[in-house]
Symmetry: C3
Subunit: 144 residues, 3 copies
């Protein structure tokens, strides 16, 4: 992990698990830009948030996802590697650059995990998200 | 399953399978609040539908998902457990409480399946859905 | 594959892989209607695009998905079969027939792959997508 310091894994906001692993496939519940227990940013990119805000929000959500995987894989010891990242971004009608936001998480995962951080990716604009969060990251992975 | 009575699994609305299982991983096609062959609710939560309507819609879609898994796993005999639930909810611009709606399905799965019902979860607001359905549940699972 | 000719697999638009396969499960990154390196269609179905445009866009994105899987599975030799297709369609407020659009991809996969092309499916309306694309296809599969 080098210089990265992981936050404590955020708690679910409903009747579900933060991570489930079965038969070698793991799914992390949707991660938001939660820092110290509360949302750091709210609203849409292109309206309430600038591109730089959005990239910082993506970094925080990405760290939370890493923290969840770390907790579920014995400190990454049982992690085979990431599978797919789905990025949902609350966007104004004229914001089309979701990939530039999500690259922050993609690069974070590669920095933290090396080749095990390589992943497929999808990106979406949504009108809004639970809690009025600006973005939600969904990550799946394989275990050894 | 205790007191739960499962409806017959709804038929697909296109050229796809209701459930596909390969190499121990199963995916259920998106489930809607269909009852007796037709949508029980239509429109957006926060507009056409109240929170209570939405929770009832979620219960119906959740029962349909369970019915699909039941049919695909020999009455849950070959079910290792759920993986992730993705909940897409047609929402008005000021409705942010998607988790309270989805908890109905999460609690249903735990009631029906015990520890095998534990799952990761994602939640999204969308402007609308196919057929003008108020919500769509996507469920993945592992088999033994 | 019979009469189908696959295009070269499009390159990712960010810091991710076109396909990742681990432990027998493969995820293709979101595929757009890109032809010869650029988007063939832009905008929403029901506004900028007709249903026929949308179906053609879906065919192109489906061919791109097949091309990615072909490249990742040694010409389909190591493909066990498809798992789930998620279709996200940029839609006007009154367009609810996403399944008719996605059937083009579903039928293409069945034509190309036979029983291995059978898949579960989800369908969503979104207000817009990265690059102002009209649709995005996300495909998962299992390998032998």
């Amino acid at each position: 992990m080098g210089r990265l310091t992981l936050p404590p894994p955020p708690r679910p906001v409903g009747a579900y698990e933060p991570v489930v692993v079965r038969r070698g496939v793991g799914f992390v519940s949707g991660q938001f830009p939660i820092e110290n227990g509360s949302l750091r940013f709210r609203g849409r990119i292109g309206q309430a948030l600038s591109l730089e805000d959005a990239r910082e929000a993506c970094r925080i959500a990405g760290l939370n996802a890493l923290s969840q995987i770390n907790a579920a894989t014995d400190g990454f010891n049982t992690l085979e590697g990431l599978l797919r990242i789905d990025g949902y971004i609350a966007s104004s009608d004229d914001f089309f650059d979701q990939p530039t936001v999500l690259d922050v998480a993609s690069e974070l995962f590669l920095e933290a995990l090396g080749p095990r951080g390589a992943h497929a990716r999808t990106a979406f604009a949504v009108p809004h998200l639970p809690l009025n969060a600006p973005l939600e990251l969904c990550v799946s992975f394989a275990t050894v």
